[in-house]
């Protein structure tokens, strides 16, 4: 099999090749749905069983950072769609610009995630490593990034949660296992996506994508949108459990 221009040897027409690549990416995304679905099931079952602990865990997340990340990802999906449109309409320079913007937004997401994760490390909220949901409430001096007002709210929430569930720490650890599992898996997929985008950028800077042939942009776009949608599910599931008050 050798490449004849842009057409691979096993295909007869470019259209067949494009349809094949597209179908392949859609089926791959179905497998990703099943993959994330498994951990979401584990999360759902445990949330139903240990609601107070899960609500408490959720309350220790920053809704501002999570919300900001949501907006960032939605914007990155927009810039990705614009990159695909640019490829389809032959606006070669715009492809590179929009791809670059998507990558940058992705890195903003990573930056915020880094802030959130390191916060969890400092607050003893990593499962398996002296996990303690009451750490900040009991040691406010070690959790200076929480304001006094927020600390009061958290103290009250911890007290209520402990009353409802004496085993709060063990069950909150389950919440955080799900948190790190789901967001970690999602972040891993985003890293792969960023890598794919950088590979696309190389191609677009070399002018390889035309209205006749832009399949890689198309299918990486599908992947990126999927990763975005996963976050749209994760954000309410993890951050917005108990916020209606």
């Amino acid at each position: 099999m050798h490449r004849t221009g842009a057409l691979y040897g096993q295909f007869k027409t470019l259209e067949q090749q494009k349809d094949t690549a597209s179908l392949g990416m859609w089926i791959f995304l179905v497998t990703e749905v099943m993959f994330f679905g498994g951990i979401m099931l584990a999360y759902t079952v445990n949330r139903h069983t240990y609601f107070p602990a899960f609500a408490m865990g959720s309350n220790t997340l920053s809704i501002q950072l999570g919300g900001f990340n949501t907006v960032v990802l939605l914007a990155s999906s927009f810039t990705m769609a614009m990159a695909v449109w640019s490829a389809q309409t032959g606006k070669k320079q715009l492809i590179s610009i929009f791809l670059t913007l998507t990558i940058l937004l992705g890195f903003v997401f990573f930056g915020v995630k880094y802030i959130e994760y390191s916060q969890k490390f400092h607050h003893h909220l990593v499962p398996g490593r002296n996990f303690d949901i009451t750490f900040c409430v009991n040691n406010p001096d070690k959790c200076e990034d929480i304001s006094a007002k927020e600390m009061d709210v958290e103290r009250e929430e911890i007290a209520k949660a402990l009353a409802a569930d004496p085993n709060l720490n063990a069950h909150a650890q389950l919440y955080y296992s799900a948190y790190f599992g789901m967001t970690g898996l999602h972040a891993l997929h985003m890293v792969i996506g960023a890598g794919l985008l950088m590979w696309l950028l190389r191609g677009s800077l070399a002018g390889r994508f035309t209205p006749e042939w832009n399949t890689p942009v198309d299918i990486v776009g599908l992947y990126w949108h999927f990763v975005d949608i996963v976050w749209i599910y994760l954000f309410p599931l993890l951050y917005l459990i108990d916020r209606y008050k």
């Binding site: 099999m1 040897g9 096993q10 295909f11 007869k12 067949q16 349809d19 094949t20 179908l23 392949g24 089926i27 791959f28 179905v30 497998t31 990703e32 099943m34 993959f35 994330f36 679905g37 498994g38 951990i39 099931l41 584990a42 079952v45 445990n46 069983t49 240990y50 499962p127 398996g128 085993n167 063990a170 069950h171 650890q173 389950l174 296992s177 599992g181």
Partner: protein
């Protein structure tokens, strides 16, 4: 034999390890699955030798527990799941649909490397402490209490799952977009339908075992608590997640074998498969309903009675399409012109053994019987009848049938028939006594047992020795035949599939000219090019490149 074909087109180890030719990749898989088959077989021999005596003085308890665990892991994940799809499916699907290769040849090669890496991790686990949790990894035994190399094994199986996913993805897309002109859906060989259904199961089910093993692995390594009751977790949640894949997995193992049988019977009866559409639909029905029965592995975990009733009912439903297929295969024989070449002997063997294996599934799905035989040797006998009596027979039958196409040479027919017979006898002697053992109450995974069970255990071990010979013989003569067998010609049987319209072995690009299909599958009456004596037609013999 043609001068240039896919085997001699290029030389050197790099041309094999970096190939994107689906036929060469199929042979890479053949080598690796055969390797794991013999690893799994070695563990099986150790089990059966140890069980000759009730006191078990051959192996220690811990060693025995590792033997049966690693037998299961090697055979299921590294032999049964890949075998027919990755060897025969990879080789034949493009040929059968008139394509030059699969949709994604590089992903095909990647899937083999993923398999090898996963296999390496699992082998590492086997040699550094072994695995003693059972292939089912039930928690909290596997995540908290076991002292064996659970983590590398879980990582190995996790990685290999992606090999399965990529193979399934490749097949699905290929069948959708790469069929030759005229090859409509209902002209496809049933082997292709079977692999389509299998691929649906692969892509929907395998990701679930992946995440389940990932969670179990993290639980073991980092001490999380999803499945550990001491930390508020639920061991039954693990079972649900595990069986959600592992039940459909058994359909990944049997559907391809059924696809092989659907090729063998029409070919050797020289007659269309009776009820083609029903058999195709039955394959899809098995794939779909197969996702709805997983809790039948959990009837006695203390779950709700309503749940047990629902899943028992669904389990009986999933048996029906398999019954329909069996009746259609049998009906094909009537009015046929039957020959007893080795592949057909394997098909007959499959019919009989799958019949027993499948019917005994009804016993297990029946709640009033499962309450007695759950987790006994009855279950062991049931699944070996289907997986060994069914899937492995199908695999060997297929290997024999397509060996001339793959190698250009014929295997020795009489030796092959003797080996098939030895296999059939050895198999029944090994596993039929286990049904009796199970109903008598001998539980599974026992390294010692009450002395009243010894007679049947000895019978079973005797059978296993015969079975071992039955497996060694083809290994030897198929290898010999690949180099020294009689040159077979393009279509020695002759058979009606597109794969037989290319030279044996095929050229790298499969077809010099893309074929245009105007005939149904197995339509012996409308294929004058096969040179057979069809009533109402004169025999027109077309020879091309014979020998």
């Amino acid at each position: 034999m043609p001068e240039k074909h896919y085997l001699n087109a290029t030389y050197g180890i790099r041309s094999w390890l970096l190939t994107t030719d689906h036929k060469r990749i199929a042979l890479l898989y053949l080598a690796s699955v055969t390797f794991f088959f013999f690893i799994g077989g070695f563990f099986a021999m150790m089990i059966r030798l140890h069980l000759l005596s009730p006191n078990g003085y051959l192996l220690s308890a811990d060693t025995y527990n590792r033997m049966f665990t690693m037998h299961g892991v090697a055979m299921i994940f590294f032999f049964l799941i890949p075998s027919i799809p990755a060897v025969l499916g990879n080789f034949l699907i493009p040929l059968m649909i008139g394509a030059k290769d699969l949709a994604f040849p590089k992903i095909n090669l990647l899937s083999w490397y993923i398999y090898v890496v996963g296999g390496a991790f699992t082998l590492y686990s086997m040699v550094t402490g072994g695995l003693d949790t059972g292939w089912t990894f039930y928690t909290p035994l596997s995540t908290v209490y076991s002292n064996s190399a659970v983590a590398p094994a879980v990582i190995g199986v996790f990685i290999t799952g992606f090999s399965s996913i990529l193979t399934g993805l490749n097949f699905l897309v290929t069948v959708h977009t790469m069929r030759a002109p005229g090859m409509t859906w209902f002209r496809l060989p049933l082997f292709v339908w079977a692999h389509y259904a299998t691929s649906v199961v692969m892509i929907l089910g395998t990701p679930v075992i992946a995440i389940t093993l990932a969670l179990a692995g993290m639980e073991r390594i980092f001490g999380l608590g999803f499945f550990n009751p001491a930390m508020g977790g639920d061991p039954i949640l693990f079972q649900h997640l595990f069986w959600f894949y592992s039940h459909p997995a058994v359909y990944i193992m049997i559907l391809p074998a059924m696809g092989v049988i659907s090729e063998l019977i029409p070919t050797f009866a020289r007659k269309k498969l009776f009820g083609y559409h029903f058999v195709a639909a039955a394959s899809l029905a098995i794939a779909v309903i197969g996702f709805l029965v997983w809790t039948h592995h959990m009837f006695l975990t203390g779950q709700s009675t309503y749940s047990a009733l629902a899943f028992s009912f669904l389990t009986f439903l999933v048996a029906i399409p398999s019954a329909v297929k069996t009746f259609n295969w049998t009906a094909t024989l009537f009015g046929g012109s039957i020959s007893f070449d080795t592949p057909m002997l394997y098909a007959f063997g499959f019919l009989g053994l799958f019949l027993i294996g499948g019917l005994t599934g009804l016993f297990l799905g029946c709640l009033g019987i499962d309450m007695h035989v759950h987790d006994t040797y009855f279950v062991v006998a049931h699944f070996h009848y289907i997986m060994v009596g069914g899937a492995v027979m199908g695999y060997l039958g297929g290997l024999h049938f397509w060996w001339p196409k793959i190698t250009g040479r014929m295997y020795p027919e009489w030796l092959a028939r003797i080996a098939a017979f030895i296999l059939f006898v050895g198999f029944n002697l090994t596993f039929f006594p286990q049904f009796v053992l199970g109903y008598l109450g001998m539980p599974r995974r026992y390294h010692v047992y009450p002395p009243e069970f010894q007679v049947y255990n000895v019978m079973s071990t005797a059978g296993a020795s015969i079975l071992a010979i039955g497996y060694l013989l083809p290994m030897i003569y198929l290898t010999w035949a690949a180099f020294y067998g009689k040159v077979a010609g393009d279509n020695p049987w002759p058979a009606t599939g597109l794969e037989w319209k290319t030279p044996s072995p095929p050229p790298t690009e499969n077809f010099e000219v893309t074929p245009v299909v105007t005939w149904d599958a197995y339509d012996f009456h409308n294929r004058p090019d096969l040179g057979l004596d069809v009533p109402g037609h004169s025999a027109v013999v077309q020879t091309h490149g014979n020998g």
